[in-house]
């Protein structure tokens, strides 16, 4: 696809359940118990089990890949500013990724992102550059 500066990319919403976190833990090797045990999560002062920040970032990479037909990612980064709290029920929560193409130059497209769970932004200054 052609990416042009100013283009708005259709928001992508992905479900996040406890099962997603268990599966991601196994695939990534990140077995931090704050991502599967309410007991441990609350003991360290979190509201409950939270998604791996890297799971949220993986969903960002997924959205970018879907928008760009798998364009080569050159840079990807974000701050994890608010936790994605995942309740222990069948619905869990969702993460929605929206993007705007900021610039296309030197063979790279830079996309500014907004990543929310519910009404809350969960990533700070999420940014990605892909080769075009």
């Amino acid at each position: 696809m052609t990416l042009e500066a100013g283009a708005e990319l259709a928001p992508k919403t992905y479900p996040v359940t406890r099962a997603s976190l268990v599966r991601y833990a196994g695939a990534s090797g990140d077995f931090n118990p704050i991502h599967w045990s309410d007991r441990v999560a609350t003991a360290v002062g979190l509201p409950g089990v939270i998604a791996h920040g890297m799971f949220t970032m993986a969903l960002v990479a997924r959205a970018v890949s879907e928008w760009t037909d798998g364009a080569e990612v050159v840079d990807l980064g974000a701050k994890f500013t608010n936790p994605v709290v995942v309740p222990d029920d069948d619905e869990g929560t969702t993460v929605t990724v929206s993007g705007t193409v900021k610039s296309v130059e030197g063979g790279l497209a830079t996309i500014a992102l907004t990543v929310v769970s519910g009404d809350q932004k969960v990533l700070g200054m999420p940014k990605v550059s892909v080769r075009v």
């Binding site: 992905y14 997603s20 599966r23 991601y24 196994g26 695939a27 990534s28 090797g29 990140d30 077995f31 931090n32 118990p33 704050i34 441990v40 003991a43 360290v44 002062g45 979190l46 791996h52 920040g53 890297m54 799971f55 970032m57 993986a58 969903l59 990479a61 997924r62 970018v64 890949s65 798998g70 080569e72 990612v73 050159v74 840079d75 990807l76 980064g77 974000a78 701050k79 994890f80 936790p83 700070g124 990605v128």
Partner: protein, 135 residues
């Protein structure tokens, strides 16, 4: 216990060589809801598998419990895409240590290199070590 600022600049030993396989990439992609086929691009956050290994070794060394770590920031900067067949290692160095509100804010950089020694990806992480509550 606060993490010692004298760690800044310390370079940890490289992780053991890791061979990227179709099966592992498919498993990782599936965990993020992506149906991955051989030949598809490797997910951009895949190197976290190696970087996380390097971080665990670092946390063991500084005697910090993983459950007290919350991820603050992560960045990936690629020199070239990763592909199945690559044999990669991660070498973690400590870039910064600060204390804010009783928490340690630890900046790390992991260089992911292939078996020729060429850097494939540099990934930086900010780790927040949450202080234990005062009893």
């Amino acid at each position: 216990m606060a993490v010692d600022g004298s760690l800044v600049g310390r370079v940890f030993p490289p992780t053991r060589p890791y061979r990227v396989t179709d099966e592992k990439v498919r498993e990782f992609a599936a965990a993020t809801g992506v149906g991955w086929e051989s030949g598809d691009p490797v997910p951009a956050t895949f190197p976290i598998v190696l970087a996380f290994d390097a971080m665990n070794a670092f946390l063991d060394e500084v005697e910090v419990e993983l459950s007290r770590i919350v991820h603050g920031e992560q960045k990936f900067s690629y020199t070239r895409p990763i592909a199945p067949g690559d044999v990669l290692t991660a070498t973690l160095s400590v870039a910064s240590v600060r204390q804010i509100g009783g928490n340690d804010i630890i900046g790390t950089v992991s260089e992911i290199t292939d078996d020729s020694g060429a850097v494939v990806c540099t990934t930086s992480a900010t780790l927040v070590h949450r202080a234990a509550e005062v009893a």
